[in-house]
Symmetry: C2
Subunit: 365 residues, 2 copies
């Protein structure tokens, strides 16, 4: 993604947000969620807030502190910047001075205490989720970053397997480090979350942290990991068997693979998100394993590893082309082992685009 | 830290919290900040809430979701657990059923929207910062983890230098990866934040992200990084010169070293935290460089990389023995280079205990 692309995207994203402001009943939005600030400006520092004024960029302001003076000038040349430490309060005061009547704030991000402080400075209106709504559908620059992140994860896993990195005697923690090192070496700025490497009975723990437990012949090894590229997260799970799979392992794997295929097939524009979850879950329930599929089917992925939409029974809304989501059913047999198979995909008008391309056939190593 | 130590600590920490509840005017506290949940229970999952009842652990409850059923039983055998996805709401309802009159909530963590939802279920009272207040003074188990984390960072940097890892031609990103890999190899679960490696003019950017820029002879190289051990973060900055330092580099380094020594000397129990900042800042101001020291002197460090107390002009409160803080003055000459020298230290009744022991003399490599 060239710098120019980023700049153009930021301008277009702010314009799209401004178009939502009248409907939210506000003259400006105070953006305090740093992920949303990054999305709207390209700024990557750790302290910032953004005032998006309905009148346009000339009336909008980005605030950060003195540590980021050079960085903000470099990353965000197209917005006026204010330097201060208490960015939200600084911009709320400024909004008042600029004559903003109704100032929207991210009520799904601002804490009760922070709100009490801001409310002394401006007339605040709840305006949750506006930027998250825009972020669900990815633009070309975002898709490019997601593709790159997923490709790096694919490459790292292929290398790990090819170099004998999944072998009895290695520990879960060693495998996790190996995977993460390979992703970094291929250009990731980091793992996109704490990698899960879970061997044997540990594979039945959905979110297991890697330990010093050595991998053993006959184990399921579940690997759930991703690469971070330009702020975008990839997310993939593969479950392999060390040696020849036992019958119960083969059956369990086939069940989860069928559920995952059903979930992928349900990824069409216009689908209600709980229905996508249901399509995959039905396969597991019909096999009598519904109780052992203990989490939602998937989630949006982008600048955050978990973002809207939630593909679960409690999710709401419809899919649209350009949304990037995971499809990751899992069935976990406590004390024995579990299987999860997960891809990151993009919803399109045709079949979804699978970004994580490492094979999904049962791999016996 | 043995599992037994953790269990004992959690019990003691919950008891200390209960002792604060009457003063806050509440019968129970709904803890939703995951870092605070971890501190009070040892639970490390990504979704949880905790109800701490003034009557004791028998009336208290931990909530997490089905993904963590086995993990919570293992990590928190000493508290009754409720399985649910919307943990805060689940426990607020339960509090109501248990006859809790005034339910405290972490108003510095709960969002405005989440509060509106919880307020339908229980009579809520703002109770910010109670757990953070306890967390400022570290117990023996925490100090052991911090010492281990800092020792790993020391070892990684020493190895990097000994193995020629800081040499002209290597890129900032390569050096960052090398450091992080060495920390992991020595037992860190990860870096404690995105490592800063900043060469030449980049060293004047306080929070620079490593790039593909190669290190060059004569450069300042600023390295700000840390190791994560058992959830505890180390934090250290060293600035070296590749080759022989120029006079301006030597002078700048001596100035920052003097400020850092002044800051360390001011770390005494009972000191007001703005005074600690002022002690170091005065050295820089007197040298005419006050404008180029653009951030606070330091911060508390523990389960979070930045936590209370803030050692800055806007901080408040007094130091106490057992607090772990950073002392990290920096002077940044835009376009030329900058120096920051940072230790993690523990306040004691005598001289502070320096946990990051890598030498602070100007290193010319």
């Amino acid at each position: 993604m060239s710098e120019l692309t980023v700049k153009h995207s930021s301008v277009a994203r702010r314009a799209a947000l401004r178009a939502l402001l009248p409907g939210a009943g506000v003259d400006a939005l105070l953006v305090t969620d740093l992920v949303n600030v990054r999305y709207l400006t390209g700024f990557t520092g750790s302290n910032a807030a953004l005032l998006v004024h309905v009148d346009g960029d000339a009336a909008s302001r980005l605030c950060t502190d003195g540590r980021y003076r050079a960085q903000v000038a470099d990353e965000v040349p197209d917005l006026d910047t204010v330097i201060g430490r208490a960015c939200a309060a600084t911009l709320a005061e400024l909004a008042h001075e600029l004559g903003v009547g109704q100032l929207g704030f991210e009520s799904d991000h601002v804490t009760v205490d922070a709100h009490a402080e801001l409310a002394e400075k401006a007339a605040l209106v709840r305006a949750p989720g506006l930027v998250q709504r825009l972020r669900m559908v990815k633009d070309d620059g975002e898709l490019a970053a997601l593709r790159a992140a997923c490709a790096i994860a694919d490459t790292a896993l292929a290398e790990l397997v090819d170099h004998g990195g999944l072998a009895p005697g290695r520990t879960e923690a060693e495998v996790a480090l190996d995977l993460e090192y390979r992703m970094r070496a291929h250009g990731a700025t980091g793992p996109s979350f704490a990698s899960i490497v879970a061997a044997g009975p540990h594979s039945a723990v959905p979110h297991h942290s890697p330990t010093a437990t050595p991998l053993r012949r006959g184990d399921f090894v579940k690997l759930d990991f991703g690469a971070l590229v330009d702020g975008y997260h990839s997310d993939m799970t593969r479950t392999v068997v060390l040696g020849t799979a036992a019958d119960w392992q083969r059956e369990l794997y086939a069940l989860v693979a069928a559920a995952q295929a059903a979930g992928r097939a349900a990824l069409t524009p216009g689908a209600e998100v709980p229905d996508v979850d249901a399509a995959a879950r039905r396969v597991v329930v019909d096999a009598g394993r519904g109780e052992e599929f203990v989490h939602p089917l998937g989630h949006g992925v982008g600048l955050q590893i978990h973002e809207a939409p939630l593909l679960g029974a409690t999710g709401s809304g419809r899919l649209a082309a350009g949304m990037s989501v995971t499809v990751e059913p899992g069935v976990y047999l406590e004390g024995r082992g579990g299987v999860r198979i997960e891809d990151t995909l993009v919803v399109t008008d045709g079949a979804p685009e699978v970004l994580t391309r490492f094979p999904k056939d049962l791999l016996e190593i």
